[in-house]
Assembly symmetry: C2
Homo-oligomer: 320 residues x 2
């Protein structure tokens, strides 16, 4: 939960004069989003989301994220679409910070995803990948192979503060992944952070995909691996194969993966586990003063990684 910047009523009124979306009726800071300050803004024309980008998001990446959201929304993906100002801009400035207004999406995030949620996420992710195919901009995935190394170098042996032996586990895993990581797979723009927090449902109907601030270009199947980790483990860390298979099948029905992609899933889920272990570990060990958000426990992803490592003989991440 986070609202790092307070906006005054007069600053807001002035800011809204730059748009054709009516006058402010209400504006509430919302306790969502770790990286930015988000406000639920009502004008006499309806609800919108106002986002102020705090320093953790690179300002130079914002045009990519906003263009992508606009592209996908235009293509029918249920994601926030940036509202253009009268001058035609989507990225403006408020309280000396980059700011954007996007459309409001209804729905709530599932706390305990069920099978239908997993199925619908699989379908929505495949659709996102297909619709992203015609998006022309490019952003490198800074949290892929080289990124893990960099993050773990910053953490160093301090991983052992969380659990004895964790540094060694990570180093061994990085070596393994570097050796066996696929050289080439079908790639394109991916969400890269499609956790349950970032998906809205009304009942079982998927109504929104949000938070595109990690979106980048990478293997499409890697995005699916991130979702398997995020959606298909139970609260006790046990892997729910049934959920994973349902998600994979739903994805596959919408976008046929080739055999190389299917074969790569066991290593992709390990890479995806390591990526979130890396950032959670870093955040856990580097809590900043005045942080409004409690970092997430890295142990969850240690457990997920260990589970995937334990699967030696057969591919359980399967559509069969």
């Amino acid at each position: 939960m986070a609202v790092y910047t307070e906006i005054s009523d007069s600053q807001l009124a002035e800011f809204l004069q730059g748009y054709n979306i009516g006058t402010v009726v209400s504006c509430k800071g919302i306790a969502e989003g770790v990286e930015n300050s988000n406000f639920l803004l009502f004008t006499d024309k309806g609800p919108f989301i106002l986002t102020l980008y705090e320093k953790r998001v690179e300002a130079r990446d914002l045009p990519f994220f906003l263009s992508l959201m606009e592209h996908l929304a235009t293509e029918g993906v249920p994601c926030p679409t940036p509202i253009h100002s009268i001058d035609g801009e989507v990225l403006r400035s408020l309280c000396d910070k980059p700011a954007a207004i996007t459309s409001f999406l209804s729905g709530v995030s599932p706390q305990t995803p069920n099978l239908t949620h997993c199925e619908n996420v699989g379908t929505a992710l495949a659709n996102l990948h297909l619709k992203g195919h015609t998006f022309k901009e490019y952003r490198k995935n800074s949290l892929s192979k080289e990124g893990w190394n960099k993050l773990f170098l910053q953490v160093g042996n301090r991983a052992d503060e969380i659990e004895t032996g964790l540094s060694k586990l990570i180093q061994t895993e990085i070596s393994y992944l570097k050796r066996f990581w696929p050289a080439e797979l079908p790639h394109g723009v991916i969400h890269a952070d499609l956790f349950p927090d970032n998906v809205f449902f009304e009942g079982n109907k998927l109504t929104g995909l949000i938070d595109f601030y990690f979106a980048c270009n990478d293997f499409l199947a890697y995005d699916l691996a991130i979702c398997i980790n995020a959606w298909c483990f139970e609260k006790d860390f046990s892997f729910n194969e049934y959920k994973a298979r349902t998600m994979l099948r739903a994805y596959y029905r919408k976008r046929k993966m080739n055999q190389t992609e299917l074969n790569a899933l066991p290593i992709l889920v390990r890479g995806a586990a390591l990526r979130f272990l890396a950032t959670r570990l870093y955040d856990w060990l580097n809590i900043v003063d005045g942080a409004l958000v409690k970092p997430k426990d890295p142990i969850e992803y240690v457990n997920k990684l260990r589970f995937h490592q334990s699967i030696k003989s057969e591919n359980i991440y399967t559509i069969q």
Copy 2:
């Protein structure tokens, strides 16, 4: 800003089955309110506010607050009105905490109140006092005379950690106030915390009074004194007599104060300053681990108190 409790989608859906207000469309924790967790809840019937009462509010006082809001809303005061469950209750339980749903009010709080805001607050406060006249329940003001003493006893000499000599200043002031505090003035139910944060406007039109969780029975003019302190000082701590006179006149037009009340204003504003100095000092010196809210600087109210003390000869808190 604060959301202390996370509500899951299934807990929420189950909770809403107890009401006739439709099904959940969206629910966002909002970064407002120091004492409670507040959520902006949309159902297919519109927006509502869902509040979970955290431990800082006495559970035994909640029926008083909710009855009062219902009474005032029925009488036309623009304040949240509690929504009754199918069973007829306004106070229920969610996530093992007392919880209530109230109506949603539009408007935004003014960051820099202007003269018209002050005028409209004066009118609205008088109206609240008039409409509260027929409210039959009673709650003692625990933050009046005896309450200050108790709070300052808990703080002790630590006030000097904030500013040298502050303990002495406070002790002297308490003695003074005890000696000259009015024995009797027209009394009734008061809001007792009507700061700009708790008043909504659309432009200059007052659209809402919220946060009745300090409401109690006390001198009506004391409520006005709280508002003078909260609304009529500029950011540089200078007192804006023009704003105060405008607020007082607006109040007076709606509810004629008697001469004793008018004469008491100089001491009531000192008492009101001391009351907020007391709680801010206590919060400042007792920051709890895991607090999501930065306490407000007590120095603001030291300055206000000093200003009021400096007015010796004439009553500047006047309708003339």
